[in-house]
């Protein structure tokens, strides 16, 4: 029952007249210069990002071990992951605690600090921006925390506490299940004022001054209202960018924990999904299983992205 349309050579093709693919192809031909310019990035993106994601989905259904031909295992890896693997449950729990604390806190912190910094005169602002941004650009600088909280009796924290008579024996800060998680969260927050913070500062700069004047005329009462109704909605793209970064950082915060607490952390106290992935992919050569973990992590991140997007659309309403 398809409706035949009379073809008129002079009439431009209409969107409804052709299949979706044909239409896309036509549009691509029309904009080939743009696609050509996009190609270098796009090819790299496909090869190094999209393809690995698909590969790991495939690997997660096998028992690949890096050295031998993989065997097809179906969903075994996933059932094992969710049914048998207690440490994975612990890892999810840790990851969620970690992400829920560091993600929003670091996000709000970045936003607040950016807002305050933005209020400063330009010259001072440049200096203060650098001060806040420095921890995240100087790579391994978080290692000063391991000096600060060294397990040695000569470590700063231990030496001070011992001097004050609060403790008699040194505390193994990063090897004590009671301290590991809070300490790691503190370090994570300290290093998190990174790229998203810069993006926020940039965001604050682009807000049109005339909007504030217009708003003042329209009856904005205080700075909070100004922030909520004018500033934040204007800089929604930057906020989205910052949020995505905060999510990926808080889920992927593995290396710093390993550097500070060793691998694995004592009693798996700071064992996140990333660590679990490393554990299986690295020391046990179970790439298939590790891929399954990676897929789960991917889904969690993807899901939280959607949530955040939804939440952000409420800003200013």
């Amino acid at each position: 029952m398809s409706l035949k349309v009379k073809k008129d050579a002079n009439r431009p093709m209409h969107r409804d007249e052709v299949s979706k693919w044909q239409w896309t192809w036509k549009e691509m031909k029309k904009n080939k210069t743009a696609y050509f310019m996009l190609a270098p990035f796009f090819i790299l993106f496909i090869v190094f990002t999209v393809l690995p994601v698909f590969l790991s989905i495939i690997f997660s259904l096998t028992d690949f071990n890096m050295l031998q031909m993989p065997n097809w295992k179906g969903l075994t890896n996933y059932t094992r992951l969710f049914v048998e693997d207690e440490i994975f449950m612990l890892a999810i729990q840790n990851t969620i605690i970690f992400a829920c604390v560091t993600g929003p806190v670091s996000y709000l912190l970045s936003l607040l600090v950016a807002w305050f910094v933005n209020e400063l005169p330009p010259k001072i602002r440049a200096v203060v921006t650098l001060v806040f941004y420095a921890p995240s650009i100087s790579g391994q600088v978080y290692l000063i925390w391991s000096t600060l909280f060294s397990s040695d009796a000569y470590g700063w924290a231990n030496a001070t506490l011992m001097k004050l008579g609060i403790i008699t024996d040194p505390i193994l800060w990063f090897q004590d299940a009671n301290y590991v998680m809070p300490l790691c969260i503190v370090v994570a927050l300290w290093t998190s004022l990174g790229t998203s913070f810069l993006a926020f500062i940039a965001g604050f700069q682009i807000v049109d001054r005339s909007m504030y004047e217009a708003a003042a005329v329209d009856g904005i009462k205080n700075r909070w209202q100004e922030l909520w109704y004018i500033t934040l909605p204007t800089m929604r793209p930057q906020m989205m960018f910052g949020a995505v970064l905060a999510i990926t950082n808080s889920f992927g915060f593995g290396g710093v924990v390993t550097a500070l607490c060793g691998f694995p952390s004592v009693d798996y106290a700071a064992h996140t999904i990333m660590h679990h992935l490393d554990d299986y992919g690295g020391s046990r050569y179970e790439i298939g299983y590790a891929s399954a973990i990676a897929v789960v992590l991917f889904i969690i991140m993807f899901g939280s992205n959607i949530l955040v997007k939804k939440a952000l659309s409420k800003v200013g309403e």
Binding site: N65, L67, I171, L172, D176, P264, R284
Partner: protein, 1147 residues
């Protein structure tokens, strides 16, 4: 409530058991090891009590020798062999037979038949050998003497690269600390030259010229000598060509310095550079015994003499006297003779070597494309006593200057000194009769080289009253001179010695404060130092003053106040702050003080190690028209060179470093990968290519590739892996092995063909036609010869039995599931040959133990007995809990895995469960936990730092890494520490004391992509053989220095390395007490849970037993999971929970 009650009861029971068990241990604690290698308390006290030469001279220095004193000649052949292996050499033939390893070094012996004595390093029991001589001194012979020994640096099976060292004792006592270890130098020379046949020339003047050339074939030095042949009166020319070869990319390759055996004269003098001239010994009336105890290297001795004392001042003229002697000599003119420093004729030891420096565009030779050798002394040429010697001939008799183009930028603001010594000459002779060099005048001990960030080109001279005095030397036409440039402390020596004394005093002060206040003194408490420790306050203030004075004087000498000298001022300020006001600031500054002690140690060290790079040395006629070589490149030269360097840096192939030809792809070329440093890779490369190297011996090429760590796994995945990989950790070996990525090398690998397996478990012979024969047992030499066969490969079993500790092999072996059908004994598959082996040993401070009057502990009980005494003095014992958890279990007779006893269980069950829940394992675990909880061992600490300051007089850890750290980091305590085997525990199974340490192994493996098993197996044998390993170890020490001791797994190689005899004894003893944790599938899991269990106990005071038990299920589950993956037996399979004990196994 109930639970805590239960806990209490358990605790009570456990503590009672524990107390009882300590009684059991205590009862047997009196047992001492037989033949212990550790020093006894007596020895340690003697060591600490030995006075310095300064004190010795204070006692005897005023002795006036009677005139006409004759030397005391000790008859060398009338020796007393205290501890084995001292022989009179009969003649060269005798040695050629008894020491066949290096027959070539015995050629010289004909003249000295039956008059010389051979002193070995170790006797047959591996103990240091020692020999004594008696001599009698009558009343009229009493006086001061210096000691002279004629020796020959022979090469025997006990030789290595290190210098010959002996402990000198007179009447069983070291007369003064400086001769505790005396060193006889060896001669090293580069045999990289050829001499042409003489050709008749038309020249009429005798002349020697030196030219240099750098081209695509290498870097050459030509010495052309035109001379009149006395026999036929014709003028002839001889060219000597010295050659530094280069690799395919044009990089210079290090010529191999080889030891040349020669007769030399040793005169006992100060090796640290503090005292000029010879050491004087006071010989009293009566009969004395002179003892030489071996420390390093065998030696042959021709004569020992005590010669009447003379001082340097009385034998060496002053510069003015020297000039007066040559007042009539004319000032020479003509051209400058330039000697490129990278071509030394002799060097004192093999670390004095040429190297590359591309920091100046006019250093000769230089290219931006590659690294050419153009300097000497960049590293390894700064220690007092090291020298490089150069030969030259001048064409006109007269006075000459010396000049050098050098860069001395090591220590900001500080000058360094070199001694200039000469040998040779005809009418005016330099040096001793036997050809050893002497300083021509006293000032030559003191040639000064100033600091500059850039290259300098200047005359050699010393400073007089702040003004430089350039030396003039008298040389005769046509005579060959040898110029020695020797590292010396010169003007610095008094200052360094003063600072060294200061450091000793300050260390003492620090320990006293520490014993009084503890490591963390309360800032607010008034310790009343002026009442309790007045001497410490005095010492602090005194040393503050001393250091300030030294800094001021040095500043005057140098003319500037560089960072190096300023260090002393900084320290002095802290000392002053601490010492003043009755020491109220001591508590506050204690940790700063501690770190400053380290700073002073480093200061002394670096001041002594004054190194400089030398590009060239010029012999300059005083009235020459030519200019000295330029110091710096001009702006355009520099910028052009930099630009080209930058561009070429994109094209340098570092993988090919040291490659002399690109090996063809093919089955006769073995692909070898290693993930080490470039130095290491280059040494392997040159050893493979050497005359007696792998390629020449086996006729197979090797493509050696330097890769970064972690490259191996992806390369196997992509099928581009090597044939052989060097230095894979044992855990990885097993990981790869269970996934079939590496090949079993003991002939049992089920994945290899019959043909391939035959290669490993048989002796392989080859006839001249290239046919291969496999023999189960080795053929006798005669048998092989009659069949025309040559042995090309040894069977695995023999190789292992000869060279490795059984423990080392265990870590590389697994029971293979695919071999299940085979009989017991053919199932184990070993997946590599051990290359390095590390294990823990105990390091101890002899001076502190002696001071506290304690023997070196040999058991843990003795150690715990000492502990209260240590702790009363605020000292600790250091051992890492992770390693203690492991070795304690093995010492007590436990093991990591269940069902490993093949007498009781079928081997398919081995390793199916963890044995940490056994009684012994739990007892060991509790004991270790108690060390850290009840006995307060520190859990986290900096070993080297605390050991150096004396806070941790006993520390346990990997022997080579601690040794390497201490050797460079803690030079101020050199000689006061030793290491020995671990303290032992009672083995709960045998009741004997068990001293076991656990071996960690890295191995050389063959990858499964290898297509020529025989070639790869041959390479493995060659690479891990004792000779090659020892050579490698010695060369790496020669190149990098004493801190680069390599932990070869080959026992025979360790014996040939440059450890002292005492160190060797200790290492060998521990090697006899080694165990290892076998790797079964899932072995990665236990260490983390043991750590968790320990931390629970330490952090949360959990019960040790319960805490360990709570993890057992998790460990077993993981092991079972992993075993299932590889199709191995797990509990529950076939309905069997507990493996059956074999029928016929006796209990």
């Amino acid at each position: 409530m109930k639970r805590s009650m239960f806990h209490k009861v358990v605790c009570l029971i456990l503590s009672v058991t524990f107390i009882l068990s300590t009684f059991v241990i205590g009862a047997s604690a009196g047992q001492y090891k037989e033949n212990s290698t550790s020093s006894t308390l007596e020895e340690m006290k003697a060591l600490v009590g030995t006075s310095s030469y300064e004190d010795y001279m204070a006692d005897y220095g005023d002795t006036v020798n009677p005139s006409g004193l004759a030397p005391i000649i000790i008859p060398v052949t009338e020796f007393i062999a205290n501890n084995g292996d001292v022989e009179i050499t009969k003649d060269s033939e005798h040695y050629a037979n008894s020491l066949t390893d290096h027959p070539d070094s015995w050629v010289n012996f004909g003249d000295n038949a039956e008059t010389t004595v051979y002193l070995s390093t170790v006797n047959n029991d591996k103990k240091a050998s020692s020999a004594s001589w008696n001599f009698t001194v009558t009343k009229d012979m009493v006086g001061l003497y210096y000691l002279q020994i004629e020796y020959y640096n022979c090469k025997t099976s006990q030789s290595s690269v290190s210098a010959i060292q002996r402990k000198l004792m007179i009447d069983d006592k070291v007369p003064f600390a400086e001769v505790r270890s005396i060193t006889f130098d060896k001669h090293w020379s580069y045999n990289n030259f050829t001499v042409s046949d003489p050709v008749v020339v038309t020249d009429t003047v005798e002349k020697t010229t030196t030219t240099y050339d750098q081209n695509e074939n290498g870097y050459f030095k030509y010495v052309t000598e035109i001379y009149r042949d006395e026999s036929d009166g014709k003028m002839k020319k001889v060219v000597t060509t010295y050659h530094i070869t280069q690799d395919i990319n044009g990089n210079s390759m290090a010529p191999v310095a080889s030891e040349s055996s020669e007769w030399s004269t040793y005169i006992c003098s100060d090796e640290s550079g503090y005292y000029d001239g010879y050491f004087n010994f006071y010989i009293a009336e009566g009969t004395h015994t002179l003892t030489l105890e071996a420390e390093r290297e065998p030696v042959i001795i021709k004569s020992i003499q005590f010669r009447p004392a003379t001082s340097v001042e009385s034998t060496t003229p002053s510069y003015q006297e020297y000039l007066n002697t040559h007042a009539s000599a004319q000032k020479a003119d003509g051209g400058i003779i330039t000697l490129e420093a990278e071509f030394p004729y002799f060097v004192s030891d093999s670390s004095v070597a040429a190297s590359n420096d591309n920091t100046s565009a006019i250093t000769y030779p230089i290219t931006p494309k590659a690294q050419l050798f153009n300097v000497i002394g960049e590293t390894g040429f700064g220690t007092v006593g090291q020298w490089a010697a150069y030969k030259f001939t001048v064409n006109k008799t007269g006075m000459y200057n010396l000049s050098m183009r050098y860069k001395q930028s090591a220590l900001e603001g500080m000058f360094i000194c070199r001694a200039i010594k000469l040998a040779g000459g005809n009418e005016y002779k330099y040096g001793l009769a036997d050809g050893s060099p002497t300083a021509p005048f006293i000032e030559a001990y003191n040639a000064r080289f100033d600091y500059s960030k850039d290259w300098q080109s200047d005359y050699v001279g010393s400073y007089v009253d702040g003004k430089k005095q350039v030396f003039e030397f008298f040389f005769e036409e046509g005579e060959e001179y040898t110029l020695y440039i020797e590292c010396a402390l010169g003007d610095l020596k008094d200052y360094i010695r003063t600072v060294e004394t200061s450091l000793a005093n300050l260390n003492e002060a620090y320990l006293k404060i520490l014993q009084y206040t503890g490591t963390d003194p309360d800032v607010n408490q008034n310790y009343k130092f002026h009442e309790k420790l007045p001497e410490v306050l005095l010492a602090l203030l005194q040393e503050a003053q001393t250091l300030t004075l030294v800094a001021d004087n040095l500043q005057d000498l140098c003319g500037t106040n560089g960072a190096h000298i300023a260090t002393l001022d900084t320290v002095a300020r802290v000392l002053y702050t601490m010492g003043k006001d009755n020491g109220v600031k001591i508590a506050e500054n204690l940790s700063t003080f501690k770190s400053h002690l380290g700073t002073i140690g480093t200061w002394i060290n670096s001041s002594k190690q004054g190194s400089m790079m030398i590009d060239s040395i010029s012999v300059v006629p005083v009235e020459t028209n030519e200019k000295l070589p330029y110091a710096k490149a001009n702006f355009f030269q520099s910028i052009w060179f930099e630009i080209r360097s930058f561009i070429y840096s994109f094209f340098t192939n570092y993988e090919q470093m040291g490659l002399t030809s690109i090996p063809e792809e093919g089955s006769n070329t073995i692909d070898v990968w290693l993930a080490m440093g470039r130095d290491q890779s280059q040494i392997w490369r040159s050893m493979i290519d050497a005359e007696d190297g792998f390629t020449k011996t086996y006729g197979k090429a090797v493509a050696l590739k330097l890769v970064t760590g972690g490259t191996l796994l992806p390369s196997i995945l992509s099928g581009k892996g090597p044939d052989v990989y060097l230095g894979l950790g044992s855990a990885d070996v097993i990981n790869y092995a269970i996934r079939d990525a590496v090949v079993g090398v003991n002939g049992n690998d089920p994945h290899l063909s019959e043909e391939d397996n035959k290669v490993f478990c048989n002796y392989v012979y080859e006839d001249s036609a290239g046919n291969v024969y496999y023999e189960k047992d080795a053929l006798s030499n005669a048998d092989a010869a009659s069949r025309g066969l040559k042995l090309v490969s040894t069977a695995f079993d023999q190789l292992v039995a000869d060279n490795y500790a059984p423990a080392a092999m265990r870590t590389l072996t697994i029971y293979s599931p695919d071999n299940a059908g085979k009989p017991e004994g053919q199932r184990d598959v070993t997946y590599g040959i051990p290359m390095t082996m590390s294990f823990a040993m105990m390091f101890y401070r002899m001076d502190i133990l002696a001071e506290l009057n304690q023997e070196v502990p040999e058991t843990w009980d003795q150690l715990l007995e000492i502990l209260p005494i240590f702790q009363a003095n605020n000292m600790d014992i250091g051992v890492a809990y992770i390693s203690a958890l492991d070795f304690m279990m093995y010492q007590m007779g436990g093991g990591m895995w269940k069902y490993t006893d093949t007498d009781l269980y079928d081997s398919k069950y081995a390793g199916a469960k963890i044995d940490l829940d056994s009684d012994i394992a739990l007892e060991a675990f509790e004991f270790v936990c108690r060390l850290y909880t009840d006995y307060s061992f520190p859990v986290s600490f900096n070993t080297a730092n605390r050991f150096r300051t004396g806070e941790m007089p006993i520390t346990i850890g990997d022997y080579a890494s601690i040794y390497n750290t201490l050797v460079v980091y803690a030079t101020d305590i050199a000689g006061t520490w030793e290491f020995g085997s671990l303290p032992g525990s009672i083995d709960r199974k045998t009741g004997k004391i068990n001293y076991d340490s656990l071996a960690g192994v890295s191995a050389t493996v063959i990858l499964n992509s290898c297509d020529n098993m025989l070639a790869a197996w041959q390479f493995l044998q060659w690479q891990t053989s004792a000779k090659v390993q020892a050579t490698y170890a010695n060369r790496i020490v020669a190149l990098i220095g004493p801190a680069a001791k390599y932990e070869s797994a080959n026992i025979n190689a360790v014996m040939d390395m440059s450890w002292t005899s005492k160190e060797k004894e200790a290492i060998m003893e521990q090697m006899n007490h080694l165990n290892a944790i076998v790797n079964y599938p899932g072995s990665y899991i236990y260490s983390r849970y043991m750590q968790f269990a320990f931390l629970d106990v330490y952090n949360d005071d959990a019960n040790a037993h319960d805490s360990m038990m709570s993890y057992i299920d998790a460990i077993n589950a993981e092991i079972a999971r992993k075993r299932e993956e590889f199709g191995l037996w797990v509990p529950g399979t076939d309905g069997i929970e507990e493996p059956p004990i074999k029928s016929g196994a006796s209990d």
